[in-house]
Structure formats: structure tokens, C-alpha cells
Symmetry: C2
Subunit: 171 residues, 2 copies
């Protein structure tokens, strides 16, 4: 079963390694990981997607509690959170194919952010599922390069400030 | 000096920990990190932002060469690559403030992706600098929660397929 975890950490060297090694020791692969700043300059937020049982998740959560510089751990439940991801994709686009590609892009609200003689770069935001659909759609044209951020999420605006099952509150 | 590194890795447990520990051992903090899928299902792409000297970067690059499951390391140079980041921000928005906030959002092509009785969530894509400007602009309204993906990038469409200084080609 797949889970999305949101972890607030102090912005210190080593904290990311301590988190990732928790998963490695158990042989779990982290499918996606995004680490970026938050509203507080000394705090970063780690969003990770992992595939493990509910039982394993609880075990990992208990161990995360004990890690230095980990402030808070919550799970972003599918119904309670809004999840988004960013995709940049460079697609083969000779002049006679550009118009067709751009029409595809319009359907997904994709923006063309760079255009060369035989390629263009799309920027697309959506749920991970939407990005996969877009990828499949442009694949026949020839994908030269592709990069994705991994998903991030927030509890819904209509819910309480910290929506998502709170797993741990350290301080 | 800040650098953006793009690292292609085999999608195996442990590779991320090996990369992050390289930086930890040298006491470098990773400012942002994004790990997501690529055009190949067995390969992930790690984009990281670090603050270190050119000399240290070259040292780290040499060590990365030796890591298991690391396929390719390149630096995304500021002029050669297009960099983007995704921000989700939940802002206090009572009904009488909504219109004003949405006008701010329009300027940055921000989309409202959720709306509650007293808050809304913006989704914004841009360069990391643009996201910081947007953050400052909505801050006076009250930021309830904020999450960013960390930057990702691709070599320009007008450049060669693998723009960016290639640091290592392992296979």
C-alpha cells in the first residue's frame, strides 16, 4: 500500500540522511521525495511516497520520533489532502509538429517554457496520475528528457489547519 | 557558491542514502532535493541544490562516480538550463479578502486549487526567485501552511540534448 508522508525537519545537515536510512535499513524504496523550504526559514518539509504496509508505516513512524531534528510527522491521506507534482518534459518538435503538440498541451494546461528548432519543453502541474497521462500522450512524439519533482501536498483548505492523520508531534 | 546538480540513478533502495551521506560527511547542507521518475521506469532523477565551492563540488563529483547505482551526474548551469519549482500555499482568506488575494494570484499565474470558508490554497510554478516574491506578497494575509518541491531543471531545448556541464558518464 502506498503512503504519502509529510515530515517537518530542522534545516540541519544530516537529517535527510537519517530519515532515508530508516527506510533503507528496512529495504523499502522511496518512490519519490521532495525537500523544500517552508514558511519558517529554519524548517524544511520533506514529502515522501513509500510503498509499505500499515504496520511497517507505524514502525517507521515510531523510529522517526526518535530522530534528531525531526519536528513533526504526518500522513497525507488520499481524501484529506491535495497533492500536486511538477513535470518538465523536452519533446521532439520539428516545426510541422509544433501546432499538434501545443494543442495536446492546452488540454493539460501545460505551458511551453522553451522552444528550440526541433524540440520544446513543457511545464505541467497536476496530480501524479494526470502527469502520467500527459507523459503517455507525448511519448509517441519522442521524449528527449523528463524530470519530475515528486509529489507534495497540503491538507485541504476546508479542513482543520493540520489535516491528515497526525502521526507524531515532537515539539 | 550555489550549484544545481542533476543525478540519474538506478531505482534501487539505498542509492539516495549513499548520495546524501556524501554531503553529510563533508558537512554540506542540501538546500533542496527533488527525486522523481524519468522517461525510463528503472531510472530516477535526483535534482539537488547545494552551497559549496567549485573545488568541493569537483571532489564530491569524483566520489559520486564511485557510488553503486549512480548512472550520470551533470551540473545545471544557470544560463544553460531552465529551472522551475512548485509551491503550494494555504493562505488565510475570509470572504472579504478573497477577491484581493485572487488578483495577486493572477499576476503570478497562480491557480486556486482549494477554497474553504476562511482559507484557500494556491498552486504556483516559477523560478525559485519568483516563488519567493509570491510568498512575500501573500505573507501579510497570513500563511497557514506552505510546501515547496525544490527546484528541477532541464537543459534548454535550443541546446544539445544533454545541456549542462556533464560531470560524469558512468555507463
Amino acid at each position: 500500500m502506498r503512503h504519502t508522508l509529510s515530515v517537518h525537519v530542522e534545516n540541519k545537515s544530516g537529517v535527510l540522511m537519517r530519515i532515508t536510512s530508516l527506510f533503507v535499513r528496512r529495504g523499502f524504496n522511496i518512490e519519490s521525495l521532495a525537500v523544500g523550504p517552508t514558511e519558517r526559514p529554519d524548517v524544511s518539509r520533506v514529502t515522501m511516497r513509500i510503498d509499505c504496509s500499515q504496520h511497517s508505516l507505524e514502525q517507521i513512524e515510531k523510529q522517526m520520533h526518535k530522530l534528531v531534528n525531526v519536528l513533526r510527522v504526518s500522513e497525507l491521506g488520499p481524501g484529506e489532502a491535495i497533492e500536486r507534482e511538477l513535470l518538465l518534459v523536452k519533446v521532439t518538435a520539428p516545426p510541422d509538429r509544433r501546432a499538434e503538440l501545443m494543442s495536446l498541451g492546452d488540454v493539460f494546461h501545460a505551458r511551453v517554457i522553451d522552444l528550440g528548432p526541433d524540440a520544446l519543453i513543457f511545464e505541467v502541474v497536476g496530480t501524479p496520475e494526470e502527469l502520467e497521462s500527459f507523459e503517455e500522450l507525448v511519448r509517441p512524439h519522442g521524449i528527449k528528457e523528463l524530470v519530475r519533482t515528486g509529489r507534495i501536498g497540503l491538507g485541504r483548505a476546508s479542513a482543520k489547519p493540520d489535516a491528515g492523520r497526525r502521526l507524531a508531534l515532537i515539539r
